[in-house]
Every structure is written in structure tokens, then in C-alpha cells.
């Protein structure tokens, strides 16, 4: 399959290791990863903060970059950005775009997937041949869980990882408190939510707290770093990309 990779602005700029892992994983599974170089940002932050005129060019750019019919599927290693493409681009296009944009958005939306959806639903694989001999707990992230309804897919992928010690995160479905600009506008409430999430992560004794969204991981990881926790955060893709021949070097990981 020819898979278009949308790195997301956050992944591209600040968390490239998660995007690299996505590219490596899909390549290992025998697919061709294409990276349209004109891609930038999905505009989620704009829309979620109340701005719908400003992201019109971003929505248009996404539709243009990935509209190429030779791209069979578009993957986003981010539940919230995938949610934005699927649920918000249409709203922006209808309101402030033109008929062409509405059409373009609809076409690209239909082939856009979050990573676990692409693997399980489209590529029909749950055992990706990964090896990760560490204790891991998984935070499902709100938009993957309740906007995209990925359900058990990420956990099915993780359960199939060789050597993994997957422990359930108490109150896993509770929000970590990130919420984009919510973490700035309501920083104290966000911190209170984060404190509870970190307490639950600590209860698992996991070496790694994984999730399918670098933004939530940035939040949880930033908090864990501040309290000097032994638990680090990793993107789901980084665990799935690790193999026996190319294992993830946990001790040396910076983030």
C-alpha cells in the first residue's frame, strides 16, 4: 500500500522520533511511506481555540497534499489530529471554504486514519512483530477513545508485542488534562487533572507510559519530568517499531 504520512506539526518539530517510528514500522510491514513535503499543520489548535477562518488554508493544504489518488491511505500518529481531519475539516470547509474544498475534504477524510486504526482495520494486522521487554501502561487519549472510537485497537496491538509486560492504567479513560490551549487557559485545572493521571501512572509501576498522541504525551511527560518520575513516555509507534534486531534502548531515551 502507498501510505501518506502526516507528521503533524508537533510530531515533525518536537517529537520526530514518534513519526520516524511510524515510518519505520509501516515500511517494515512492507508498505511504501510517502511524505508530501508541503504538509504543515492540520489546524486543530485553531479550531479548538475558536478560530475557524484562520485555518482554512491549512485545511486546504491538507486536502491538496494528500488528495493524490495514488495515496491509498493517510496515517496520522495522533488521535486528536486524525479527529480534527475527520470531524472538524468538514465544518471549516462548509462554513468558510468553497465547494471545491468541501469536496476535497470529504475525499481525503474518507481515507484518513489514526495509526492503530490503519494497522488493525485497514492493514488487518495486530502482531506487527515488535519486541519490547518492559513494563508498559497505556493511556488511551480522549480523542482516540471518544472521537475516533478506536476502542481496544491499540491494546490489541500492544498485547501482541513480544516480551511486553502490559499493565492496566487505573481510570485510563480519564483525560490527562491537556486539551490544547486548555492547558494554558485553565492551567490550574489542567494541572489538577494531570496530578491524578500521574498518580495512576505511578500506581502501575510501569517503566513506560504509552499513548497514541504526542500532545498528550508531551503533557504527561512534562509532568513526569517535573516530579522526576522514573516512568517515561513513549508513543505507541515507538513500541511497535522496536524489534529484537533493532530494540528500543530504554535507558538512553531522552524522552
Amino acid at each position: 500500500m502507498r501510505i501518506g504520512l502526516f507528521a503533524t506539526c508537533l510530531g515533525d518539530t518536537l517529537f520526530p522520533d514518534a513519526v520516524k517510528a511510524t515510518a519505520v514500522l509501516l515500511t517494515r510491514l512492507g508498505h511504501q511511506v510517502v511524505f508530501p513535503p508541503g504538509q504543515t499543520c492540520c489546524g486543530q489548535m485553531h479550531v479548538n481555540t475558536g478560530y475557524q477562518r484562520e485555518p482554512v488554508p491549512l485545511v486546504r493544504n491538507f486536502a491538496e497534499q494528500f488528495g493524490d489518488p495514488s495515496i491509498d491511505a493517510v496515517v496520522l500518529p495522533s488521535g486528536s489530529c486524525a479527529g480534527s481531519v475527520r470531524h472538524q475539516h468538514g465544518i471549516v470547509a462548509e462554513r468558510y471554504g468553497d465547494a471545491e474544498l468541501v469536496d476535497g475534504v470529504a475525499k481525503v477524510r474518507a481515507k484518513t486514519y489514526e495509526l492503530s486504526e490503519l494497522l488493525v482495520d485497514v492493514l488487518e494486522v495486530t502482531d506487527v512483530g515488535a519486541y519490547f521487554p518492559h513494563r508498559v501502561t497505556y493511556h488511551p487519549t480522549c480523542h482516540s477513545l471518544r472521537m475516533l472510537r478506536v476502542g481496544e485497537k491499540p491494546l490489541r496491538l500492544l498485547r501482541a508485542v513480544e516480551g511486553i509486560d502490559l499493565v492496566e492504567l487505573p481510570e485510563a479513560d480519564a483525560c490527562c488534562g491537556f486539551g490544547g490551549t486548555f492547558a494554558l487557559k485553565n492551567a490550574e485545572t489542567s494541572s489538577a487533572m494531570l496530578a491524578d493521571k500521574m498518580r495512576h501512572v505511578a500506581e502501575t509501576g510501569a517503566a513506560v507510559c504509552a499513548a497514541g498522541d504526542s500532545s498528550c504525551l508531551m503533557h504527561i511527560g512534562g509532568g513526569l519530568s517535573r516530579i522526576a518520575s522514573d516512568t517515561r513516555t513513549l508513543h505507541l509507534a515507538q513500541i511497535l517499531a522496536a524489534t529484537r534486531t533493532s530494540p528500543y534502548a530504554l535507558a538512553e531515551a531522552a524522552r
Binding site: V24, P37, E54, N61, G179, K185, E188, T189, G222, R255
Partner: protein, 510 residues
């Protein structure tokens, strides 16, 4: 003046500024600041919301057709809003036929005046009240007191709030922010003649309330209520409750005055078969609440012989005029969204400054009362009082898409806000991101952040507006290489080639 006959529809007005209880004094983050530091409140709320969540999931899970009931409930409410004029007129006709009197109130002040006049006409100087969101919204108690009429709240939680000179903080359990010890202290201080040995066992506290209110139920001539449902087809009103205080108020007095928001009307009596399943299971997590009363006008020899229904607008038609926002009017006030909301759980209901707290309050309040009625209107902060986690949408028995409504109201807020620093920044960000080359340059420039990081590669102090973030969270320094740089590099391509299956018959050649 009605615009019906003028041909051009006019945007209906919101609840008048400065009236009722639809606006706090502070914006949400400032109001939450104090509440977040109240450890007792956090413990009370955490315990209560976790208890009710488990109960709700248990009783909604046992109905195999729960999702179908939600779909039906949602559609009935949407259909109701679409046909509101005819349904309201039908309701009025049926209530009138059965001996009731229907009044219309354009806003809270008008409803307060109508109720006050009706009470005064009976000669009574006190009234007993069933818990009602609508009368709370319009500040009826305050108005009655100013007019020399004493309102007695009879719901246990409302009584606790009234005795403590406090404000409700939850739709269903207005005193959820109080624990049993606090309630015991309030009762000891405020209930005349209460046994000084009263302990904090909930059953004993409830018994103390029973004894105190019994005499009021037996002697007060006028009762005020709200209504959960008003059936257009039959003129039947319904109140759903637990303690029997509702039955007392709806049965014992000579005069009953009910204030009902116009959105509470339902087309058919049979629609109750849906809502009597959705409401109790979503609100208290029970299969059925202990008591539901239904009455149609006046019944000779049974209950109040004088019945008045006050139909209240107070901004509801303004909400109805918004294609997206009107969905909030479908709310049946079950409070499930409050109980699952991670923000409500930490900040409590008072932070919202409105009779309607929590997720539904954050979308309903701004629509009823507006977000820009004054400079720095606290209501403009409400749509942002959410991480958009979506738990409320899943819990809502009538499937109100609260996260999407929040995003919509945020948009309306930015559209109405004029020029702000945030808007300038958002424009700048979008304008950068629509130009891939500029964007790539900016990514490189962001590496300057590496210079600010400590030896551990962390940034721990950020300037405003990011200082709230860095108060509790570090930021990692930007990496040496962006993804796009890696992907374009020989090293990156080599890594990918190494990862590809060795077998050349792989996917690529298919």
C-alpha cells in the same frame, strides 16, 4: 411587540443582563483558582462523582436498548424544538381546558413578577418550593424575599444550601460540595429546635429535615415548582423526585404555581416511556426514582384546586435561533455530564457562576445570557472550561454533542471578540503554517529553544502565556533534527531501507 407579522424574523433577545443567576462575578479560571485549593471540596466531589458514575454505568448497562432509547430521546427533543410554537399552544389549550391558567414570561423578571402577584393574591406570606432549575435561574427566591414572601426550599440539598446561605453547585445534588459533617453543623446552627445531639449519620440528618419540614408541608397554602416535562397532547405536567417533598408540594397546598422553560414541552404522553427510562438511570443511577408525580390541570377533591403554569423564555428562543447551539435546549437536566466531567470534578459547580454548571452549563449559560453582555463578560470564559475530552457526550441520555457545541461557542466568542492578542497570534501561526518553506525555516529557528534549556535538556520556566504550563510541567528542548529533515536525509532513507522486508516480492511491487 411581536415580529411575526412584520415578515422579517428578528434575532430573539438573551436573558437581560444583570438579572437572575446566569452569570458569575469572575471568569472561570479565576473562580476555579480558589475552588481548586479547597481540599475538602475536592474530596467531597471526587467521592460523590465516582459513586454516581459507577451506579449510572451499572443501570444503563443492564438495558440492551439503551442506545436506542438515547436515539429516540434525542430525536423526540429535536422534533419538539422544530415544532415548538404549535406544541406550546397545544399545551396551553389543554392545561386551560383542565382548569389551569397559563402565563407567559418573556424573561426572568417577568416570571418573578407573575409568581409574586399570584402568591400575593392568595394572601399567603410564605411558599413551599420543589427543587427547580428554572426558578433558580431567574432568582425567584431573592425576588420573593424582597417582596416579603418567605420561600422554603424542601428538597434536602436545596434546604442545606438555603440554610447555609450558600449557592447550589450541582443540577441534581445542589449540596454535593458539602459532606455529612458540614451538613450536621449547618443543621445545628440553622434549624430551630433541632436536637443538639444530632450526629452526622445521613439517615439522622434526613430525619431532622423531615421533622423540620413536616409542619411547613401541612400548613403552607402555596407551592412553587418547576416541571421536568409538560405534555402538549394532554396538558400533563410531571415532576421527577426522590424524597416525597415534591409530592407534598404538589398535593398539600391550595395553590400550585409551576414555572417551566418553554423547551420542557414534549409532544405526546407516550414520549414519557422514553424519558422515564433515560432520566432516572442517567441522573441518580437508579432504575426509577422513588416518586414521579403527574398532574393535568386541576382535579376536584385531589390536590391544589388552583393551578398556574408560567411558561418561561429568558433567552431560550435566542438559543433556539442558533442552528448548532439549539441542541443544548434538548437537555433534560439529568446532570450525568457533570458527574463524568474531569473539570467539574476538580473545580465544582460554583466556578461556573451560573445555575447551570458543568459541561451543559458551559454551553447553555452563554446561549441563554450571552457572552459579551459587558466588558470581560465572565460567560465568555465558559466554553473554554473544558479539555474537550468528550466524556459528557458519551454520558448524555439525549446525545447532546457538548464538545462540538463548546467548539462552536468558542468560535462565536472569537468572532464577537474583535481584535485580541490571541487572534493576532493565531493568524500569524496560520499564515506561517500555510507556507511550507516559511514553516520549515521557523522549525529551524525554534531550535534556539535549545539555548534556553538546562543541562538536562529541559525548559522549566516559560514566559506568559505559557507560564501556566511551566508551573507544573517541563518542556523538552527541540530536537536537533525535525522529522522532515530526517526523512529527506540519506541517513533517514537508509534507515527505512534497512527496515523494509528483505523479500523483494513485498508490497511495493504489488
Amino acid at each position: 411587540m411581536s415580529s411575526t407579522f412584520l415578515g422579517m424574523p428578528a434575532a430573539p433577545p438573551r436573558s437581560p443582563y444583570g438579572t437572575g443567576n446566569l452569570r458569575g462575578e469572575q471568569k472561570f479560571p479565576e473562580a476555579a483558582h480558589g475552588e481548586l485549593r479547597n481540599e475538602q471540596l475536592r474530596r467531597n466531589l471526587g467521592k460523590a462523582t465516582h459513586t454516581i458514575r459507577a451506579k449510572r454505568l451499572a443501570v444503563t448497562g443492564e438495558l440492551p436498548d439503551w442506545e436506542r432509547l438515547r436515539d429516540a430521546g434525542s430525536a423526540i427533543k429535536t422534533d419538539t424544538m422544530n415544532r415548538l410554537p404549535e406544541l406550546l399552544e397545544e399545551l396551553e389549550r389543554r392545561v386551560t381546558e383542565r382548569g389551569g391558567t397559563v402565563h407567559w414570561a418573556r424573561d426572568g423578571a417577568e416570571a418573578n413578577e407573575i409568581v409574586t402577584r399570584l402568591v400575593k393574591a392568595t394572601g399567603s406570606e410564605e411558599v413551599i418550593k420543589v427543587k427547580s432549575m428554572a426558578t433558580q435561574e431567574i432568582g425567584l427566591n431573592e425576588h420573593l424575599e424582597a417582596e416579603g414572601i418567605r420561600p422554603h426550599e424542601t428538597d434536602l440539598a436545596e434546604l442545606i444550601v438555603q440554610l447555609a446561605h450558600d449557592r447550589p453547585s450541582h443540577i441534581l445534588v445542589p449540596a454535593i460540595h458539602r459532606n455529612r459533617d458540614e451538613i450536621r453543623r449547618i443543621f445545628l446552627k440553622e434549624i430551630p429546635g433541632v436536637d443538639p445531639r444530632l450526629d452526622s449519620v445521613p439517615a439522622h440528618l434526613a430525619a431532622a429535615a423531615r421533622a423540620y419540614l413536616r409542619e411547613k408541608f401541612m400548613t403552607t397554602k402555596v407551592a412553587l415548582s418547576g416541571a421536568n416535562f409538560g405534555i402538549a397532547e394532554t396538558g400533563t405536567l410531571s415532576v421527577v423526585e426522590s424524597e416525597g417533598n415534591g409530592r407534598m408540594c404538589l398535593t398539600m397546598p391550595e395553590t400550585l404555581i409551576s414555572v417551566m422553560g418553554i423547551e420542557k414541552v414534549l409532544p405526546r404522553f407516550a414520549d414519557l416511556e422514553v424519558f422515564l427510562q433515560l432520566l432516572p438511570r442517567s441522573s441518580t443511577g437508579e432504575r426509577m426514582n422513588p416518586y414521579t408525580s403527574m398532574w393535568t390541570g386541576v382535579t376536584p377533591g385531589d390536590g391544589p384546586q388552583e393551578f398556574h403554569l408560567v411558561l418561561l423564555d429568558n433567552g431560550r428562543t435566542a438559543a433556539l435561533a442558533d442552528k448548532v447551539g439549539r441542541e443544548a435546549l434538548n437537555c433534560i437536566r439529568c446532570s450525568a455530564c457533570l458527574n463524568v466531567c474531569p473539570v467539574y470534578e476538580r473545580t465544582g459547580g460554583h466556578s461556573y457562576g451560573s445555575t447551570y454548571p458543568g459541561p451543559i452549563g458551559a454551553v447553555l449559560t452563554p446561549q441563554l445570557a450571552g457572552m459579551h453582555a459587558a466588558k470581560d463578560d465572565p460567560n465568555s470564559s465558559l466554553p473554554y472550561a473544558s479539555s474537550l475530552c468528550g466524556a459528557c457526550f458519551d454520558a448524555c441520555p439525549v446525545k447532546i454533542d457538548i464538545p462540538s457545541l463548546l467548539v462552536e461557542l468558542r468560535h462565536q466568542n472569537t468572532e464577537e471578540s474583535g481584535a485580541t492578542a490571541e487572534k493576532t497570534a493565531m493568524k500569524a501561526a496560520a499564515s506561517l503554517m500555510k507556507r511550507p518553506k516559511l514553516y520549515t525555516k521557523a522549525q529551524k529557528a525554534s531550535r534556539a529553544g535549545r539555548l534556553l534549556a538546562g543541562k538536562d535538556g529541559k525548559l522549566s520556566h516559560l514566559p506568559p502565556p505559557f507560564n501556566g504550563w511551566s508551573a507544573t510541567r517541563d518542556v523538552s528542548e527541540p530536537p536537533k533534527q525535525t522529522f522532515r529533515e530526517w526523512f529527506a536525509s540519506q541517513e533517514g532513507q537508509a534507515e527505512l531501507r534497512a527496515a523494509a522486508p528483505q523479500d523483494d516480492e513485498g508490497e511495493e511491487s504489488r
